[in-house]
Symmetry: C2
Subunit: 334 residues, 2 copies
DNA sequence: ATGAAAGCGCTAACAA
DNA sequence: TTGTTAGCGCTTTCAT
């Protein structure tokens, strides 16, 4: 293993000068710099990142904790975070929490163990009761709703407004009995916020909210979407619009409706939420809500880096809510 | 910051004893262990991973370099690798190479910089000419084809055989003019191996290989698949079967064919490769090749860990090729 | 502009 | 069973 001292010896300078060259510090004469660079090349020197980390008290890595990485939504988030972090010379270590409360807390702990310089936590399992746990003294940014009361930086989707817009879009297209496919709405979480938007739109339009139209699923994935949609159609439930709280559910629902012989958009119009890459290519293509995912991911990284750069600073905690647009495609365009 | 020495002082023992407790080393009297654990709790001690890394020469992190994480295929790979690594107490840091040769080499370099204990490189940009670069002295496992001649551990898909099986499946369903949608086939890479399987199937069936049926695309994603399929149908190309070298291309192609007014599977049967989660829910659902992704990812982690555990050992380099099955769904079932 | 000294917090190797 | 010593390779501080 070639160390900085080996290079120093070979170049006839001190270790410190080598360090200064490596880190582009000023006060190194060009001639000296040349000598050092030359020695580094000859010896195939590579910095030892672990040693640098120890010295600097940084790891150069941020953690990203998501429920699962194998979903269109979270993999896109991961992609953007990785790219944004790279611009700041940070690596991203990914953890999958399975949306469980325990694992999300564990991710928080790992961060505390100084494995990461900071953590972006896409919270899906934590509830308002865990607010206290988030008041940690190391850099953390929460991606998700402002459900925690406590002072944390967080980046949120326009869940209520966008869901209202999605539902309103269905109403404008003539739907009168609009069902919703969402997760359990017990707590103040994403599912329930989106549910709130749905209800608001119905209310404002003077449409009654039939409980039978409210369909909750466990895992919010394609399979659940397909099964539930089949059941709904099969059981003779009367509905002409369907708002799915995410595109995975919607993709499944499209399939389930076809299986049940229901025509989309003629008999039932369907709209999702997220605008995942796939939605554009489905048959029929999926109308959906498009938040500015990339901006959100970048904002999360920015907020985190701000905390990392100024560890002591008592910076006010910031909330960022992305804008959104309604993307109209075939599934509501009939 | 609470150090191991602070704990030692508080517990009235030496730093080494604390270290032994932390690492569950034997030869610590239960009473002593208690004292130490107690002190650790009182002082809210957390190991400093950077220091441990420097001492041990390990980082506890492996790198995973993939072309992009926001694709059904690679996000699934990432998910499985993360889960498998977790079982060995390793974290996974993900890099996106954009399938570029430079970035793949850079990932290799980062690994050399001791940022990772090892690297799983999903090679898409490297060619046979880079074989030499892979003969590195640190743990690396290549995910992809055996295109590098050199001695490397690698995990490969049954590209040729499975592609032949996919094409054969189309033939068995009555297709006679089978097109292929694949990447450039200049080099010995995944695209060309799958192309080889396609050609072999045609040959064995005595079907002529019309160059017009060979469609190469740049990026192998949904958009390209859709555009190219539209062009093919629009230009009046005569084909009754389509083998797409991955499911993303196939998803796009299904869409493109619909746009061009072509019925799947009645007029054209389509089969993909990968069996991504989405393929089951498409309309029509997509026939495809299902390699054992999870096994591949786990095998890659296993091979890597073997190298990490025995750094010096001259272990024979291993090749693992996954099995596969043909999943028949609606897109070829007419 | 360069260098010497002193750690960063931990652990391997040896000593007691 | 426990403690002492001596680093891991780098950077910070302060001299020169």
């Amino acid at each position: 293993m070639v160390t900085i001292r080996d290079v120093a010896k070979a170049a006839g300078v001190s270790a410190m000068t080598v360090s200064n060259v490596i880190n582009d510090h000023p006060n190194v004469r060009p001639a000296t710099r040349e000598k050092v660079l030359d020695a580094m090349a000859r010896l195939h020197y590579r910095v030892n990142v672990a040693a640098r980390n120890l010295s600097k008290g940084r790891t150069g890595t941020i953690g990203l904790a998501v429920p699962e990485v194998n979903s269109p939504y979270y993999s896109r988030l991961a992609a953007t975070v990785i790219t944004a972090a790279e611009r700041h010379d940070l690596r991203v270590s990914i953890e999958q929490t399975g949306a469980s409360r325990e694992n999300e807390l564990a991710a928080l702990a790992l961060s505390r163990y100084r494995l990461y310089d900071g953590l972006i936590l896409s919270a899906a399992g934590l509830g308002p009761a865990d607010a206290g746990r988030l008041k940690v003294d190391h850099p953390v940014v929460i991606l998700g709703e402002r459900i925690f009361g406590g002072p944390v930086d967080h980046v949120a989707m326009p869940n209520v407004d966008a869901s209202e817009a999605a539902t309103r879009h269905l109403i404008e297209r003539g739907c009168r009995r609009i069902a919703i496919l969402c997760g359990p709405v017990e707590e103040v979480d994403v599912a329930s916020l989106r549910f709130t938007g749905y209800r608001q739109a119905l209310e404002k339009a003077g449409l009654p909210a039939d409980p039978a139209l409210i369909q909750t699923v466990g895992r919010q994935d394609m399979r659940e979407g397909a099964e539930r949609a089949r059941e709904m159609a099969g059981s003779g439930l009367d509905f002409d619009g369907l708002f799915c709280v995410n595109d995975s559910l919607a993709m499944g629902a499209l399939r389930g409706l076809v299986d049940a012989g229901v025509q989309v958009p003629d008999q039932v119009k369907v709209i999702g939420f997220d605008n995942v890459k796939e939605s554009e290519f489905l048959i029929p293509s999926l109308s959906t809500i498009a938040p500015d995912h990339d901006l959100m991911a970048e904002k999360a990284v920015d907020l985190l880096i701000r905390r990392i750069e100024e560890p002591g600073a008592r910076i006010e905690h910031e909330e960022f809510v992305s804008g959104f647009s309604v993307v109209v495609r075939e599934s509501t365009d009939g």
